[in-house]
């Protein structure tokens, strides 16, 4: 899976999570998105795990706070 494919899929899942369309180039962070609360974050992680067949630890879950960090974490998991 290429970085742009991962990016597109992450953006789509994030838009489901926050309930609004997100442009591919838009950078979304938990701090800037009030509806991205802790429960939505768990739901997003579950969807990412389903979509990319990866698993996140509790520490990794807590560290993922923006669309960019999520894309990077998935790339790293795919590489290993």
């Amino acid at each position: 899976m290429t970085r742009s494919q991962i990016q597109a899929a992450v953006v789509e899942l994030l838009s489901i999570t926050v309930g609004r369309p997100i442009a591919p180039s838009e950078s979304v962070t938990r701090d800037s998105e009030p509806s991205w609360d802790s429960l939505k974050h768990v739901e997003l992680i579950l969807m990412l795990e389903e979509q990319f067949a990866v698993q996140f630890s509790e520490k990794e879950m807590a560290a993922l706070r923006s669309s960019g960090e999520i894309v990077q974490a998935i790339e790293e998991k795919n590489a290993t």
Binding site: I16, V42, L46, E49, E50, Q51, S57, E58, A62
Partner: protein, 559 residues
Amino acid sequence: MTITNTIEDEVRSAPSVKRADLLRLIEPPGLSPIHLRVHRNYAFELIGSVLPPFLWMAGLKPIVAYGDYDDTLTFSQIDPAAVQIISLDFERYGEQAYSAEFRNWFAGRLENLRVKNHGPIIVSNWPSESPNAGRFNLELEKIADRLPSVFVWETVEIFRKMRTEFFDERVAVAKGTRLSNSACIELARSLGLIRLPSALLPRIKAVAVDLDNTLYEGVLGEDSVEGIHISAGHGAIYKELLRLREEGVFLAILSKNDERDFVELCQRRRDFLLKPEHFSAISIGWQTKSEGLVRIAEQLHIGVDSILVVDDNSGEIAQIRTGHVNTPLLHSRSPEQTLFWLRHYPALNGYRANSATPLRISDLKASRQRDLLRVSASGTDYLREMQIELTYALNSMSSRGRLAELSQKTTQFNTGLRRFSEVEVARRLEAPGHCTISISMRDRFCDSGIIGAIFARMDGDRLLIEEVSVSCRALGRNVESPMIALALSPVIDRYGLRDVSFLFRKGPRNLPAHMWLTSFTGVPDIADGSFTSVAWEKISQRDICLSAPVAYRWEQITG
């Protein structure tokens, strides 16, 4: 509601559906809002967020309110009319939960909630195969039977199917639950498609199935009896249909075919487990499916909107939908898909059996024999030859579920159109000055069980009759007036009452009730929406009714 082969229906029936696929589905218009209050000690939100796409299938839009995590079930936030859902992670209680004391405490909390709220209560059981969980679940079943409108949400079954996939302890603390993502989705599916619809909606009364490419692969008229293919999946459908029949759901055939071919199929193919006698109505011919459906409804004495039609042909499905917009439809695409929806179609499964359930099918057969008798006899001769026996009970708590069902579901003979929930019926049964009479009927052809209910209360020397409900199955035997007069007479005598006062409300289908009330009271202008009072002595048909040739007895006249 129609289940076709849309992507949405595939998503909802997929064995391993993804959370994102469910959350992408778009809410359909025209749903009825339903308020749910969740009492929990874990993050039920992961079930709640994927519940709507399943409940939409039943035409319901959930509005979910969550209390704080509460192991002690204080029920500090209660909406009296909302559906209450109690879902606990019992492992959080440790060894405490193994004791009889815990089970008693839990029963007490349910009783407390029952008093505070009059909506249905859904309580999840303990998803574990440990003996302690088994004991708890058994006790929970007993409590649910004892309390009105308390329903057990069968999570153990899902646990058994998923086994090691059910829990995911990996990030349990961060998620707020030990349930795995896939378990949350399966739980939402069972709650949304089965548990909640069965607690809230009247049951679908019949399943009308097509033949070709639905109950087997092939076309009977072209491929012949030997040429059609019956797979293991079709066999599973037959068993599922027979299970539904055992539960009191009528089976019917709705097919464009030659009936002789169908009879030959039943006789010659031993792997075709369904037989003509399993079907309470058969419409096989060359009329439109809409017309055939109406014929089936007439044969079964039910409305077309309480028959689920299963058909492989999308054109036929569309044709029925055009003529009967409220008829539930299932587009049969494959045996597996059909089997799934027979097990999960909202308002078809998950219902508690009551005393009337197994009697419906035999009663329908008997009604055909009664029709023949009616042709040869008339008036009192007919009543006498029917050998009718009525059994009355006053304020019988064990019948509360059936009494509520009668007030809610019958439509031709409801005088007041009062719709009492099971909880309201239970409260009336215990309330001073209230009389609720159940009426059971048996005749020479069969036992019909409880077929009538009278909901009344005393007001000075008047008996205010808020509702008389008679099942459609009991109508047409010319026994309504004697049946009701014989029920009221001892109550009036016992309490020294003078007048009877009937509430009448006009509904879309209760013209027979209006006609009966006019004839029974002798009052020609029964007003809509108010009580019509008559002195009991002046009931025009009273003496004729009380001396009608029917046998009767009181089973319970206390309370």
